[in-house]
């Protein structure tokens, strides 16, 4: 059915669709790069609205704390559950802390927290900026001689980077606590043994890599969500579309940045 439909599309039309898709992607990447450049330029000149930055810190921090803690505890528990079979069959209980720690600190923790952060804070950010576009609040800022990038995007960019690094660190702690609790309840591993196993594994490098990922994910989510918010077209439907595009693109960006950090790290 689908292949028939594809076969029936004239070649020229197919080429047009492909071309349009590539131009659309290039436009998004170009727009985001330009936005990133403008943000960095404003930051270098210290042209930052500190009141708005503080407001964002409070909003982002409060909004994300519960969801990040919950995600982190579950991700720690998942890592232990995944390894449960091997631990039971080999009796290598002293390796549970190492297994959970490595997976959580370097990969699963930052990735899941980043995705949750994108869904919670990034989507909210796009919706807020998109609503400001459709209600002409962005035009009002321009009319007041205020650059919306400096006033709205720079504080969000700074906040998301700092908060995601902090939340990743905090999330690591809660993930390990979740892992310790799960291994105690399921595998009857003593808490002290679990934490000793984590400490003996020398996971500082993984911990730092996780923080670096938090930094990079925060930047990617901030630029993506602000770009789609500021480029919202149409009314309420446009805001919905922008949020959808923002969440999908942020997720792709998180995975792409994740690969980049891993490649650069090793």
């Amino acid at each position: 059915m689908t292949s028939d439909r594809i076969r029936n599309i004239p070649l020229l039309e197919l080429a047009r669709i492909i071309g349009r898709t590539f131009v659309g992607i290039a436009e998004i990447i170009g727009g985001m790069t330009l936005l990133q450049f403008r943000v960095l330029r404003a930051m270098l000149t210290l042209d930052i609205d500190y009141d708005e930055t503080l407001r964002q810190f409070y909003k982002v921090g409060v909004k994300s704390l519960a969801v990040v803690v919950f995600t982190a505890i579950l991700s720690g528990a998942i890592m232990v559950l995944q390894g449960e079979h091997y631990v039971r069959s080999t009796g290598a209980t002293s390796l549970v802390g190492w297994a959970a720690g490595t997976g959580v600190l370097a990969e699963i923790g930052p990735l899941l927290i980043g995705l949750m952060f994108s869904g919670r804070v990034g989507a909210n950010n796009t919706a807020e900026l998109g609503s400001m576009v459709v209600t002409e609040q962005i035009s009002a800022l321009r009319a007041l001689a205020i650059d919306p990038v400096k006033y709205l995007v720079v504080p969000r960019f700074l906040t998301m980077i700092v908060m995601l690094v902090l939340l990743t660190g905090l999330g690591d702690l809660f993930a390990l606590m979740g892992g310790a609790l799960t291994s105690h309840l399921l595998l009857q591993i003593d808490f002290r043994l679990f934490w000793q196993s984590v400490l003996d594994s020398h996971l500082l490098s993984e911990f730092y890599m996780g923080l670096c990922k938090g930094f990079a994910f925060g930047g990617a989510i901030a630029i993506t969500s602000c770009y789609f918010g500021l480029n919202t077209k149409g009314g309420a439907r446009g805001v919905g579309r922008a949020v959808n595009d923002s969440v999908v693109t942020s997720a792709i960006a998180i995975f792409a940045v994740n690969i980049l950090v891993v490649v650069l790290w090793y």
Binding site: E136, Q137, A140, R142, A143, L144, A145, I146, D147
Partner: protein
């Protein structure tokens, strides 16, 4: 900061055209707005009044033509000049465009907190309260916007446009949705404020009776251009059908 010599015309648009995709809003439009006068801009709904105001206020970039503000030719690529000129402009949007994350007081205070505002910090509070009092919203200073009716929000928007004493103030339907008493009060406020500041005021409105009371000049927009510019008296005596429709309208 570049200095501005007092120009005869606060705004000069020479042959400007604005399109949205394939839709032409106005074409080859020429309009000169004398300084320190109150100008009324009238025209049927959807004729492009709001878009014209936004182009004149540099919010939209015209597709072609020349725009001069306060004697300076506007270069839309020169962000420094744009920021400077915008700091001399007040704008009230038809859709209000109030900042919904701020309360009434902070919305009105906003233009005074912008970098480059020459209002001393100690005078900011006095100014905000004075203008809120003038629009009858002093008691609502700390209220969130959501607690206000549509008409009250419109008055906040008018107050925000005027508070920084701009040299040019664009008001897009300042009395739309307001009762006759409040509308008259807003027009009185505009007239009083104009006497105090000598600013150039441009009001796009369908309230012809209100405009007749305070405007020095009116400009009628039709057929994607300005078809009439002149005094209220001239408008009432012209034979142009688009103008007569507004200024000599009689019920049949």
């Amino acid at each position: 900061m570049p200095s501005l010599k007092k120009s005869t015309y606060a705004v000069e648009a020479l042959g400007i055209t604005k399109n949205f995709s394939d839709f032409c809003v106005f074409k080859n439009l020429t309009l000169s707005l004398e300084s320190s006068k109150i100008h009324g801009l009238v025209g049927v709904s959807s004729c492009g009044k709001s878009t014209l105001l936004k182009v004149l206020a540099t919010i939209y970039r015209p597709d072609s033509g020349q725009l001069k503000l306060l004697g300076q030719e506007v270069n839309f690529s020169n962000l420094f000049q744009l920021r400077f000129l915008r700091s001399k402009i007040g704008f009230q949007f038809q859709g209000l465009a109030l900042f919904d994350f701020l309360n009434v007081y902070d919305n009105v205070r906003f233009p005074l907190m912008v970098k480059g505002s020459d209002v001393p910090p100690q005078e900011v509070h006095h100014r905000v309260i004075a203008i809120l009092d003038a629009v009858g919203l002093k008691d609502y200073a700390n209220a969130p916007l959501t607690a206000l009716s549509g008409g009250m929000q419109r008055r906040v928007a008018v107050a925000r446009a005027m508070v920084a004493s701009p040299e040019i103030c664009f008001l897009d339907e300042p009395t739309s949705g307001l009762d006759p008493v409040t509308s008259a009060r807003i027009f009185e406020l505009i007239a009083r404020w104009h006497i105090e500041t000598s600013a150039t005021v441009v009001i796009a409105s369908q309230d012809v009776d209100g405009l007749k009371k305070i405007c020095d000049l009116v400009h009628v927009m039709a057929n994607k251009t300005i078809v009439f510019s002149g005094s209220i008296t001239d408008a009432e005596h012209t034979d142009l059908p688009e103008v007569k429709a507004f200024f000599s309208a009689t019920l049949r």
